[in-house]
């Protein structure tokens, strides 16, 4: 599998990088909202927009193959479960496409924005709302965005360790999924343990 290099902040000097934190966040929200509401023509436009964004960010993006594989698999699973519930049709495809676009948007923005920047921007934008726990959520967002890439790195190592014991020879898809998912879920639980301790240490 390709090196998983998404959700990592990569320094750069693109237009997206240079936007202030609140600008990135607003743009992220706008694009995400557009992705989840638009019909076919809108989605086509967004795809064009995201492709342009990816090309501009290319030097900073690293290898996208892992991320795309992940998005395609998730979208496939989503479509499958939808199709079983509602029958197969345009809405099912639309939802899968929207998922991919939203995921893609997330990748672009996390590549161009440092976790703390997104957290701070969120706090700045929401501080005026009475009783809104802006500061807390800022810590929450920053920590989550900091730990996500770690989990992704770990899953790359899990994958390497399994391949080094010839796991790629197992052809049964159920076996393959099981040994991919189980260690990853274990890892996420261990990490979320760490996250909650790290948050406690920062007096969250």
């Amino acid at each position: 599998m390709a090196e998983i290099a998404f959700l990592h902040y990569r320094p750069g000097r693109t237009l997206l990088h240079r936007l202030p934190g609140w600008g990135k966040l607003l743009l992220l929200l706008a694009v995400t909202a557009a992705c989840s509401r638009s019909a076919l023509i809108g989605l086509a436009l967004l795809t064009a927009l995201l492709t342009t964004g990816s090309l501009v960010l290319k030097p900073a993006l690293g290898k996208m193959k892992g991320a795309l594989m992940f998005a395609l698999i998730m979208a496939g699973l989503l479509a499958f479960s939808d199709a079983r519930q509602f029958g197969f049709g345009t809405p099912v495809i639309l939802r899968a496409v929207r998922f991919i676009l939203i995921f893609w948007t997330g990748i672009l923005f996390t590549t161009a924005a440092h976790p703390a920047e997104i957290g701070d921007a969120f706090e700045t934008l929401t501080r005026w709302i009475p009783h809104f726990p802006a500061r807390r959520l800022n810590t929450h967002i920053t920590l989550t965005l900091t730990f996500l890439p770690l989990i992704m790195d770990e899953s790359a190592t899990v994958d390497r360790a399994a391949r080094s014991r010839c796991f790629h020879r197992r052809k049964n898809p159920l076996v393959r999924i099981r040994y991919r998912v189980e260690p990853l879920v274990d890892g996420v639980f261990r990490k979320s343990d760490e996250i909650s301790r790290a948050m406690a240490a920062r007096c969250y």
Partner: protein, 245 residues
């Protein structure tokens, strides 16, 4: 003595971002039955180098030969011959019991069930894992985890065992357990490559040392030759040589 060395790394180069090479023109070889230490400070490229040794990663330039044969022509065989023990045992474990964890590799190889059981039993006896066989790998102590991780590789009957920072995070008893696992293996003829930044724990047991710094091999020789100058490369020089009494 015309046999080719066990493993030969020739002019290996690798970079991830185009402009930042992680390995630069790395060459060295390991002889049969040797115990080599690859030492280097954090970020010097040790783990990346390890990932190349059994073909998990492909170099940009250079090649690796196993007993004279290019590893990319060996298919899965190289994965079996060169066993990698990863730094973080938790990321290596895939199963819910130690017994099944040990069987994972041979099962992937498609060996008959009878043979798998036999190998697992052999390794269990060899490493003294009997009492742990029904435990969950993730819940073991540090030293026990490392032994199980080593066991999970030994069942595949490798010719070279590569360990990435095997002492990280282990307490005194854990280090002791791991060393007492490795020493008899080496006595029985297993070739070892031990990757570390911490020479104090293992310098006494090695017969060869390689210093890696910023992706380049800086020194290669016997521990006596190498140890006096290691601090130049950001590696702490051990005070005595015998950690294990």
């Amino acid at each position: 003595m015309n046999n080719p060395p066990l493993l030969q790394v020739r002019r290996l180069s690798r970079s991830f971002d185009r402009n930042v090479p992680v390995l630069r023109d790395v060459s060295f070889s390991l002889t049969e039955g040797s115990w080599t230490i690859l030492a280097g400070s954090n970020g010097s490229g040790k783990t990346v180098l390890m990932n190349h040794l059994n073909g998990l990663e492909k170099p940009d330039k250079g090649e690796i030969l196993f007993r004279g044969q290019k590893i990319e022509t060996m298919g899965d065989e190289i994965r079996r011959r060169v066993g990698l023990v990863f730094q973080n045992s938790d990321l290596q474990f895939v199963e819910q019991t130690v017994a099944r964890e040990l069987a994972f590799g041979p099962t992937n190889l498609g060996l008959p069930r009878r043979k798998i059981e036999l190998r697992v039993q052999e390794v269990c006896d060899e490493l003294g894992l009997e009492k742990l066989m029904d435990r969950r790998p993730h819940t073991l102590s540090g030293g026990e985890k490392k032994r199980v991780a080593i066991g999970g590789i030994l069942v595949m009957e490798p010719d070279l065992l590569v360990l990435d920072e095997p002492f990280t995070g282990l307490d005194w008893a854990g280090v002791d357990q791991v060393l007492r696992t490795l020493i008899p293996l080496h006595k029985k003829g297993m070739s070892l490559l031990l990757i570390t930044h911490d020479l104090a724990k293992c310098a006494a047991h090695s017969d060869r040392m390689i210093i890696l710094s910023e992706g380049r091999i800086r020194r290669e020789g016997t521990p006596e030759e190498i140890l006096p100058g290691v601090e130049e490369w950001g590696i702490r020089r051990p005070e005595g040589l015998t950690w294990l009494k």
